[in-house]
C-alpha cells in the first residue's frame, strides 16, 4: 500500500516518526507558536491597560485587543498545538503512518485560513465582541466565518487522528491496548468532536444572522449552546495536558502508570460527564431551573472533578514510584528533592501540575458551586481562575513538551539551554502570582472585561477600595513578568528552529518497526512505607485536600454575609 512514505527512528529518543506525520506536526506546532506570539503581544496591551497606574490603551483598542487575545490564545494557539499532539499520540506513539495526509493538510489549510480571517475581522474593528460574542451584540460576518472554517479544519484533524488509530490496528503496529497517553488523546478527541458540533450548532445560525438570512438568535439559547462549546473545549485541553503529564512522567523518569485501570477509568469519567460543563457559566442566568444547574454544574455529583483529583495523584505518584525504584527512598520527599529540577521538561510539567490543581482546580470548583457563583460571576476572579488552568495547566505543559520535541521532532540542538532552564520558573511562578492577585481583586468585586475601574464619565461612579487598586497593580507587575517568561519560550523555540545546530535524524526506512511486545511485569510496587507505594504524593494530596476544604467553606461563610436572596 502507501509505500511512498518513510519512517525514521530518532537516535535520541527511540521514537519513530513517519515522514508525513512529522511534517504535519511541525506545521501545526509552528502555527501554534505564531499565535502564541501574537496573543502574547496582545497580552501586553491588555495587562498594561488593566494596571490602573498605567491604563495604557483607549477603550475601543482595549476591547479589540482583549477580543483578539482571548481568541488567539485560547482557540488558535491551543488547538493548533493539540492537533500536533493528536498526530504525535497516534502516528508516533503507535509507530504507524498517518491516515490520509492530504486531508490532514486540507485541515491545516482550513485552520490557517479561518484563524487569519477571524483575526483580520477583529483588527478591522467592528468585531470587538469578545471571544464569547454573545448575541444580540454582533460582529462582522467574517468573524464567525473564520471561526467556523477553523472549527471544520480542527474537526477534520480529529478524524485524521481517529483514522490513524484504525491504520495502526489494521497494520498491526502494536499489540494489545493503545498506550495510556494515546488513550488520553482519544478522550480529548471524542470531547473535541462533541465540542465542535456544539460550536457549529450555535455559530452557523449566528453567522446567518450576521448576514441577514435569519433574524433572531435567542440570547439565552445562544449562551447555553455557546458554553457547551466554550467549556467543553477546555476539557479537551485538560485531557490533552494530562496526557502530556503522563507522557513526561514516562519520558523523564521512565515512570509507568501506578495502575492502568485507575488512570484509564478516570479518563472515561471525563468522557461520560464533561458534556455537562456548560452549566457553570450560566449559574447567574435567568430562566434555568435549579435542578438543572445543580446537576450540571457538578458534572453530575462532581464525577469529573473526581477524575481530575485521581490524575492529580497518580501522575506525581508514578514519578515517586519510579524515583524510589532508583533508590531515592529516604523519608517522604527525597524522590522529589532529587528530581531533575534543572530539566525544563520536568520542571515545567511539575509546576503545571501543582498550579493547575491548587490554583485552577480549587478556584474552579468553588466558583462552579451554584450559590457561590453569585459572589464571583463576571468578576476578574474568573480570568484569574482560567489563567491557572489554561495558562499554568495547558500552556505551560505544552511549553515543557516543546523542550522535549526540539531535539526529537525539530532535530535541532536547543539554543540557550540556560534560559530554557529558568523559563518554567519565571513563567509558571509569575503566573501563579498573577492568578492569585486576580482572584484577590475578583473577591473584592472588580469586573472582568472592564476598561476603567475608575468609571471615567459615569455620573454615579463607584469607588473601589484601595485594596482592589493594589491588587490590580500587582496583576500588572505579575503579568509583565509572565510575558517575559513567555518571550523566553518563544525565543528559545523559534531560535532553536532557525539557528539551532542540526542534529542527526536517524536512518529512514520504508517500513515501520512495530512496537515489540513487552513482557508482563509486576504492576504494584511496594517501595515506601506503610504499604503505600507513594507516601510523599499522598502527603501532598492531603495538603491539597485541606486547602480545598478550608477555601471552600471560607467562601460559604462569605456568601452567608451578603443580602438575602431567594
Amino acid at each position: 500500500m502507501s509505500s511512498t512514505t518513510t519512517y525514521r527512528t530518532c537516535p535520541r529518543s527511540g521514537l519513530q516518526f513517519e515522514a508525513n506525520a512529522e511534517k504535519l506536526m511541525l506545521a501545526n506546532a509552528v502555527a501554534a507558536v505564531v499565535f502564541l506570539l501574537i496573543g502574547g503581544i496582545l497580552a501586553v496591551g491588555v495587562v498594561l491597560t488593566r494596571w490602573p497606574a498605567i491604563h495604557w490603551l483607549e477603550a475601543d483598542t482595549f476591547y479589540q485587543v482583549l477580543t483578539a487575545h482571548g481568541i488567539d490564545m485560547l482557540i488558535f494557539w491551543i488547538i493548533f498545538f493539540e492537533i500536533a499532539v493528536l498526530y504525535f499520540c497516534s502516528s508516533t506513539l503507535l509507530r504507524c503512518r498517518l491516515a490520509t495526509p492530504k486531508i490532514a493538510w486540507l485541515a491545516f489549510a482550513l485552520m490557517v485560513i479561518g484563524a487569519i480571517t477571524n483575526n483580520v475581522a477583529v483588527y478591522q474593528g467592528g468585531s470587538s465582541v469578545m471571544m464569547t460574542s454573545y448575541v444580540p451584540m454582533m460582529a462582522a460576518p467574517s468573524f464567525y466565518l473564520g471561526l467556523i472554517l477553523f472549527a471544520v479544519g480542527a474537526l477534520i484533524g480529529c478524524f485524521v487522528f481517529l483514522g490513524t488509530l484504525v491504520v495502526a490496528k489494521k497494520e498491526k503496529t502494536y499489540q494489545g491496548s493503545v498506550p495510556l497517553v494515546t488513550f488520553g488523546a482519544i478522550t480529548a478527541c471524542i470531547i473535541a468532536v462533541f465540542t465542535i458540533a456544539s460550536g457549529a450548532i450555535i455559530l452557523i445560525p449566528t453567522f446567518l444572522l450576521s448576514v441577514g438570512v435569519i433574524d433572531k438568535v435567542d440570547p439565552l439559547v445562544y449562551r447555553t449552546i455557546w458554553w457547551a462549546f466554550g467549556h467543553s473545549s477546555q476539557q479537551i485541553n485538560v485531557a490533552a495536558h494530562i496526557s502530556i503529564w503522563y507522557a513526561v512522567a514516562a519520558i523523564a523518569f521512565g515512570a509507568k502508570p501506578m495502575s492502568e485501570r485507575v488512570s484509564r477509568g478516570a479518563f472515561l469519567l471525563y468522557i461520560l460527564f464533561l458534556q455537562l460543563a456548560s452549566a457553570h457559566h450560566l449559574l447567574a442566568d435567568p430562566g434555568l431551573s435549579t435542578g438543572w444547574k445543580v446537576v450540571n454544574t457538578s458534572y453530575f455529583m462532581y464525577f469529573a472533578v473526581l477524575a481530575s483529583m485521581i490524575h492529580g495523584l497518580t501522575i506525581p505518584g508514578a514519578m515517586e514510584v519510579a524515583q524510589r525504584a532508583k533508590g531515592f527512598n529516604k523519608g517522604l520527599f527525597e524522590w522529589l528533592r532529587k528530581a531533575p529540577w534543572g530539566n525544563p521538561v520536568f520542571s515545567g510539567v511539575f509546576i503545571s501540575i501543582i498550579g493547575f490543581g491548587f490554583l485552577g482546580g480549587i478556584s474552579g470548583v468553588m466558583m462552579g458551586t451554584e450559590q457561590l457563583n453569585m459572589i464571583i460571576h463576571n468578576t476578574i476572579y474568573v480570568p484569574g481562575h482560567f489563567h491557572a488552568t489554561v495558562v499554568v495547566g495547558t500552556t505551560l505543559s505544552f511549553m515543557a513538551l516543546t523542550y522535549f520535541l526540539i531535539p526529537v521532532l525539530f532535530k535541532r540542538e536547543m539554543i540557550a539551554p540556560g534560559l530554557a532552564r529558568i523559563q518554567p520558573y519565571l513563567f509558571g511562578l509569575s503566573m501563579y502570582f498573577f492568578c492569585l492577585v486576580m482572584m484577590g481583586a475578583g473577591t473584592l468585586g472588580v469586573s472582568r472585561r472592564h476598561w476603567d475601574m475608575a468609571f471615567e464619565g459615569a455620573a454615579l461612579a463607584y469607588q473601589w477600595p484601595g485594596a482592589a487598586y493594589l491588587m490590580m497593580g500587582l496583576v500588572g507587575i505579575a503579568g509583565v513578568a509572565a510575558i517575559a517568561g513567555g518571550a523566553i519560550y518563544l525565543y528559545v523555540t523559534v531560535g532553536s528552529l532557525l539557528w539551532g545546530k542540526k542534529l542527526e535524524a536517524g536512518a529512514a526506512s520504508t517500513t515501520f518497526t512495530p512496537i515489540p511486545r513487552s513482557a508482563p511485569t509486576v504492576v504494584a510496587q511496594s517501595y515506601g512505607s506503610a504499604g503505600f507505594a507513594a507516601p510523599g504524593t499522598f502527603m501532598l494530596a492531603m495538603v491539597f485536600l485541606v486547602a480545598f476544604v478550608l477555601y471552600y467553606f471560607i467562601n460559604w461563610k462569605y456568601l452567608s454575609q451578603v443580602w438575602g436572596l431567594s
Binding site: A59, A247, T290, G317, E370, N378, T379, E456
Partner: protein
C-alpha cells in the same frame, strides 16, 4: 511498561490498584459528595439562593411596568440627567432596567425588608454587580428575572455593569440606597 507504550498486561481493566490510589479515591469521592449535597442543603437551609423565576418579556412591556413604579413612588431625582430615585413600599415588585449605558431608575430600599426585584435588559447582555456587597447576576435581553432581595445592611450600593456591553461599558453604573 510506561505510559507511552502499550500496557504489558493485555487486560488493563484488571490491573490491581495500589493502596494509595484506593484510599485517595475513597476520600476524594466522599469530598465530591459533600460538595454536591452542600448545594442542595443550601437550598433548604441557606439564605442566599438565586431565584429561577423568569418570564419572557419585551422592552415595551417591561418599560411600562418600570414607568408605573417610577410615576407612583419617585421621591426625588439625582444627577444632571434627573434620574428618579424611587422608594417603593416593602414587599412590592420593583424594577430595574439595564440598557446602554445605564441602570434605571435609582432604588431606595429599607433594611431587612424584602422586595421582588425585576431585572431585564433592553438591548445587549449586561451584568448586575452589586457593590460592595458583591452579588453578581447576569441580565439577559428578552428575559425578565425576578429576584427576591433582602438588604441586610444600610448604605449606598452601586450597581456596576460587569458584562461587556460596548464602548461605554465602563460608564454603566447604577445605584441602590438602603435605609
Amino acid at each position: 511498561m510506561s505510559a507511552i507504550l502499550p500496557p504489558s498486561e493485555r487486560l488493563w481493566w484488571k490491573h490491581p490498584l495500589d493502596r494509595v490510589e484506593g484510599t485517595w479515591i475513597v476520600i476524594a469521592l466522599i469530598w465530591c459528595l459533600i460538595m454536591f449535597f452542600m448545594m442542595v442543603g443550601w437550598h433548604l437551609y441557606g439564605k442566599q439562593n438565586l431565584s429561577t423565576e423568569t418570564y419572557k418579556t419585551t422592552p415595551d412591556k417591561f418599560s411600562a411596568h418600570a414607568q408605573a413604579m417610577v410615576d407612583k413612588y419617585t421621591v426625588r431625582t439625582e444627577t444632571a440627567d434627573k434620574v428618579p430615585v424611587v422608594a417603593p413600599p416593602a414587599g412590592s415588585d420593583i424594577y430595574m432596567i439595564a440598557r446602554l449605558w445605564n441602570f434605571w431608575p435609582i432604588l431606595e430600599l429599607e433594611k431587612d425588608k424584602t422586595y421582588r426585584l425585576h431585572l431585564t435588559s433592553m438591548d445587549y447582555n449586561h451584568g448586575f454587580s452589586l457593590q460592595p456587597a458583591n452579588i453578581n447576576i447576569q441580565v439577559v435581553p428578552g428575559y425578565e428575572h425576578v429576584v427576591t432581595v433582602t438588604p441586610n445592611q444600610s448604605g449606598t450600593y452601586s450597581v456596576v455593569c460587569n458584562e461587556y456591553c460596548g464602548i461605554n461599558h465602563h460608564t454603566m453604573v447604577g445605584r441602590i440606597y438602603v435605609k
